[in-house]
């Protein structure tokens, strides 16, 4: 246990960075993903096509290769940010594709009859959206969206390979320093990740219950 207790502060600061990566790239991914989901479902064919290309390209690229592109590639063309920004940029772009797909499948899950019924009783587009379609879509989107953020939590570990001292980076250092306590270290840091994952799924379950149709 020494490895964990002696380095508790370092591990904690590692998880703090993990959480920052998660929040920054998560919020960014939500914004970009919502934008592309809107484009993906727009009545204008070229917008749908552009959004679909985005999703196909970045969803099928490994996150690690995307990080290589932003982390090593962008400085080569004289676009420079902090390491943290460049890594979270890749995570944003990558996760946004999953956010967009989750939103799309959520909206597609709503029967067309719902919107038709709303329009036929005279609701304009705005009311149809805010009163009928979106409330149902949010409900349908919660479980896949929670999965997207759980996946993002685990994906933030990739930053460890790029000099960002988050939790997995700490794990790597400790595994080298304390060769006899590797299993303790592994399980200890794993529990940290499991807590984050559980908080997300607990939050999702709460949301799902609150938005459930009684």
């Amino acid at each position: 246990m020494d490895a964990l207790t002696e380095n508790f502060d370092a591990i904690l600061s590692g998880f703090w960075l993990t959480l920052r990566l998660l929040v920054v790239s998560g919020v960014g991914a939500l914004i970009i993903g919502t934008l592309f989901a809107a484009l993906r479902m727009s009545p204008v064919p070229i917008m749908r096509w552009a959004a679909k290309t985005y999703v196909v390209v970045f969803r099928n690229t490994p996150l690690l290769v995307l990080i290589i592109l932003t982390y090593y590639g962008l400085p080569e063309i004289n676009i420079r940010f902090s390491f943290f920004t460049m890594v979270s940029m890749a995570m944003m772009i990558y996760t946004a594709t999953f956010v967009s797909e989750a939103l799309r499948s959520g909206v597609n899950a709503i029967p067309v009859g719902q919107a038709e019924a709303a329009r036929s009783i005279g609701m304009p587009f705005g009311l149809t959206m805010t009163q009928v379609v979106l409330p149902q879509a949010f409900r349908a989107v919660v479980p896949p969206m929670a999965s997207v953020f759980i996946a993002l939590t685990k994906n933030t570990s990739l930053a460890a390979g790029f000099g960002i001292a988050e939790a997995t980076f700490r794990l790597k250092g400790l595994l080298n320093d304390y060769a006899t306590e590797r299993i303790t270290i592994f399980v200890g840091i794993a529990i940290g990740y499991i807590i984050i994952v559980e908080v997300i799924s607990f939050g999702a379950a709460r949301l799902e219950r609150r938005w459930r149709v009684s």
């Binding site: 099928n60 690690l64 290769v65 995307l66 290589i68 592109l69 590639g73 063309i77 996946a151 595994l175």
Partner: protein
């Protein structure tokens, strides 16, 4: 027809056309800006791109690709077996089987794959080398995800099937292997193929422990030619083509195997399994 908008009338058609033109202009402007920026940074010179048409360099990439595909195939093969064992284990009637299976599956699903790979690498790399550290990490992670898929797939088979089998006097083992699994396979196959895509993408993590593979081959190239940007784009292109082929296979399987309208589907999002009835 979409839930979001009506079939457009003449006015809306005109508006959509204008929006379409604006979109094209915006996209073209972005493309031009990117091309100008890349040209200004000398990204279109032949010394950046020539390596990728040089046979010896193509061979390095192919060798890397071979290792990547090999790692993915072995990892998937192991994880399907492990997934089957643990997935059925989670459905066992015996607590002594069910609980350990649950613990293993939940643990390895919640832990970041890279962490798992670092751990295996630090403990066994002297014995098994970096490539096998990667493969074992992939197999453990994907095995636990597939265990959930198998469990969800078996549960998605209509209950009447198992009840009918029991009432014929079949034992649980027979019910699972003869009645439930064959039907569950149809439900699960698209999800299993899409997990293969995830595994193929995750082989790139071998880069961090210097396991031979496509991304590592890319590193060798950019260390020699100092063309990180170009190399990253080429790697992206290779992965995209590979994964699109697998996606085509998945949607083909889905079309061929989807038994009937309204049958349950199993979907994986980031290692979480979602069942749709």
């Amino acid at each position: 027809m979409s839930v979001l908008f009506d079939t457009p009338g003449p006015k809306a058609v005109r508006r959509h056309r204008i929006l379409g033109v604006i979109t094209v202009l915006v996209l073209a402007a972005i493309a031009v800006a990117v091309v100008l920026k890349l040209a200004a940074e000398d990204q279109f010179t032949s010394d950046k791109w020539e390596p990728f048409v040089t046979p010896s360099i193509i061979n390095i990439l192919l060798e890397g690709l071979r290792n990547t595909v090999l790692a993915a195939v072995i990892a998937i093969a192991i994880s399907i077996v492990a997934g089957l064992v643990f997935g059925v284990g989670k459905l066992s009637n015996h607590r002594a089987v069910r609980w350990p299976a649950w613990l293993v599956v939940e643990f390895f699903r919640a832990v970041p794959l890279l962490m798992l790979i670092y751990f295996i690498f630090s403990v066994w790399s002297e014995n098994i080398g970096s490539l096998w550290s990667l493969i074992i990490g992939l197999a453990l992670y994907n095995g636990s995800v597939l265990a959930e898929v198998f469990r969800a797939g078996i549960n998605a088979v209509p209950k009447g099937q198992a009840e009918a089998a029991y009432s014929l006097g079949m034992r649980k083992t027979q019910v699972v292997t003869i009645v439930q699994l064959p039907q569950a396979t149809r439900i699960m196959l698209p999800a299993i193929i899409s997990q293969c895509i995830v595994a193929l993408k995750d082989t790139s993590l071998g880069f961090t422990i210097l396991a031979p593979g496509l991304t590592y081959a890319g590193r060798e190239i950019w260390n020699t030619f100092h063309n990180k940007f170009a190399t990253a784009l080429v790697l992206m292109a290779i992965y995209i083509v590979l994964n699109c082929l697998l996606s085509l296979l998945a949607s083909f399987a889905e079309r061929r195997l989807s038994s009937s309208e309204g049958a349950a589907t199993v979907e994986i999002v980031g290692g979480q399994v979602l069942t749709k009835a």
